[in-house]
């Protein structure tokens, strides 16, 4: 009963109506000839273009390329970020002799890495992955280190009472307690990874959704361009939803905390 109510209350009627109305107004404006800007196409034309791109396989190919770059780059960032974050969180010396470097490096606008990365790795998926990993690394590192720093004193004391070794304390007490913060970091990193994949494809590697979108713009194919844009948006939404679903696998406390920390 409560579940059903939760499900219905989650469907936001006003919101859906507004969204549909906006698309309908767009269509009517173009059909009615109110908007005659050459580059604004009606939603129906976008759907037709998407259909064609699907039939030729171009859309699937580009999506697959971008998706794999995002997932590989993000996974590498999670592994590296967890390791480095634990190092910074667990050892004071690492913080003293390294945190300023981290702050400096992460304030580097990642986009500026694309040209050097293209020169080092060539126009390849390797270049994309390296840029994505670099950008997605920082939210995970910071949230892991921060989460570890905020583990309550009582847990440390409890571990000491049980005479756990330092390694055992870290593995079975501290890192699990920091999990909510790490999960938030992983989600932030996923959003960053998608953006950087698109950016790297727009400015560097000529493949994937970002490149196809810019190519359609330069070829003045607005219908194709909007089809790629909608696909990119859906990719972002789906990846975020998938990650939210995946976080349900970590302990319930962690999920509750991470939901609470969402803006």
């Amino acid at each position: 009963m409560a579940l059903a109510r939760a499900a219905t209350s989650r469907v936001n009627i006003y919101g859906l109506v507004t969204l549909v109305a906006l698309v309908a107004i767009w269509q009517l404006l173009v059909d009615g000839g109110v908007v005659t800007a050459q580059y604004i196409v009606a939603p129906t034309e976008v759907v037709a273009a998407a259909d064609e791109l699907l039939a030729s396989g171009q859309l699937q190919e580009a999506t697959l390329h971008t998706l794999s770059a995002v997932l590989i780059g993000w996974a590498l960032a999670v592994v590296l970020g967890l390791l480095l974050g634990c190092m910074f969180g667990l050892f004071r010396a690492a913080r003293t002799y390294g945190m300023a470097t981290v702050d400096l490096l992460r304030s580097l606008p990642t986009i500026a890495l694309v040209p050097p990365a293209v020169l080092v790795f060539g126009f390849s998926v390797k270049m994309e992955v390296s840029v994505i990993t670099w950008a997605a690394l920082w939210p995970i590192l910071i949230n892991t280190a921060g989460g570890i720093a905020q583990v309550p004193r009582e847990l440390h004391d409890a571990a000491r009472t049980f005479r756990l070794s330092r390694l055992r304390t870290a593995v079975s007490v501290i890192v699990p307690a920091a999990m909510p913060s790490i999960v938030v970091g992983a989600r932030l990193a996923m959003a960053v990874a998608v953006i950087l994949a698109i950016v790297a494809e727009m400015a560097g590697n000529p493949a994937g959704l970002g490149y196809e979108m810019v190519f359609a713009q330069q070829a003045i194919q607005p219908a194709d361009m909007f089809a790629f844009i909608v696909t990119i948006g859906l990719l972002g939404v789906v990846l975020n939803a998938a990650l939210v679903a995946a976080t349900r696998l970590v302990p319930p406390v962690a999920v509750a905390e991470s939901q609470r920390e969402r803006r």
Binding site: T18, I111, V120, I195, A203
Partner: protein, 261 residues
């Protein structure tokens, strides 16, 4: 005296913190093979190339152009984000109506706005500012909305007791209590704005640090690209520090607990 000591004690560890970076650069400089690899030029070559290819004047004027786009874009985003955000937070119908659309727009990776803007507005300064503002409006908007909807109930009641109009309630009570949250949103938006500005400059403009970067890449000038990357890094760091200082100055005398968000 003690304050001075504490100051030194606070700064020194931070300076030590740059050790890995400095070590890394020194090692990079000293690796013998680095000299003949065209793609891993040593740091000394970066600065040399920067001087030979551009000179300080050109780099500074490029950074100035980039800075201008970032700042104007952020200002537009702050005003729009604050107004729409407060409307969303304060009026329930507005929140319900717009939330689905906003959720999608927020999840949309911001760079996709660039091709649309280029087609609609052409390669103009307006187009750049529009792209930057579009990308950086979301953190401001969402922060303003959540702060406006969680304004301390007591304050809202005060407004009602004094029989203020809705407009006066927003202006005198809700807006001041959301300012810290709005500033926090701008802080989050700052790196996004820098990224978007440089990306727009890379895609077919001839001003700004982004266009210098893409030129270096197209001409295979590796040391130049690394040098510009270095310059952009300093730029980003300085911008962040500057904003932190401005925010601190601004919020120094803000009443405690006014920011409910």
């Amino acid at each position: 005296m003690t304050a001075g000591l504490r100051y030194v004690g606070g700064v020194l560890p931070r300076l030590f913190g740059f050790l890995p970076l400095v070590l890394g650069l020194v090692i990079w400089e000293l690796i013998p093979s680095a000299d003949d690899s065209p793609f891993f030029p040593p740091p000394s070559a970066w600065l040399e190339d920067l001087r030979n290819e551009h000179g300080l004047g050109e780099i500074l004027s490029a950074l100035w152009a980039t800075l201008r786009t970032v700042v104007i874009g952020l200002l537009v985003a702050t005003v729009v984000g604050a107004v729409v955000g407060i409307a969303i937070g304060f009026f329930r119908v507005v929140r319900l109506s717009l939330s689905t659309t906003l959720e999608f727009l927020r999840a949309l990776p911001a760079p996709v706005i660039i091709p649309i803007a280029v087609l609609a507005l052409g390669q103009t300064e307006t187009m750049k500012v529009f792209c930057v503002a579009f990308a950086s409006v979301w953190p401001v908007l969402l922060n303003a909305a959540s702060a406006a909807s969680s304004t301390t109930p007591l304050l809202v009641d005060v407004g009602r007791t004094l029989q203020l109009t809705r407009a006066a309630q927003v202006r005198k009570i809700v807006l001041p209590s959301t300012v810290p949250a709005i500033l926090l949103g701008v802080r989050v938006a700052l790196p996004v704005a820098v990224i978007l500005t440089i990306l727009v400059e890379m895609l077919g403009s001839n001003v700004g640090i982004g266009s210098l970067l893409i030129d270096a890449q197209r001409a295979y000038r590796s040391a130049d690209a690394f040098g510009l990357l270095f310059a952009v890094g300093i730029f980003g760091f300085a911008l962040n520090a500057l904003f932190t200082a401005v925010g601190w100055l601004f919020l120094r005398r803000w009443p405690e607990g006014a920011g409910a968000g």
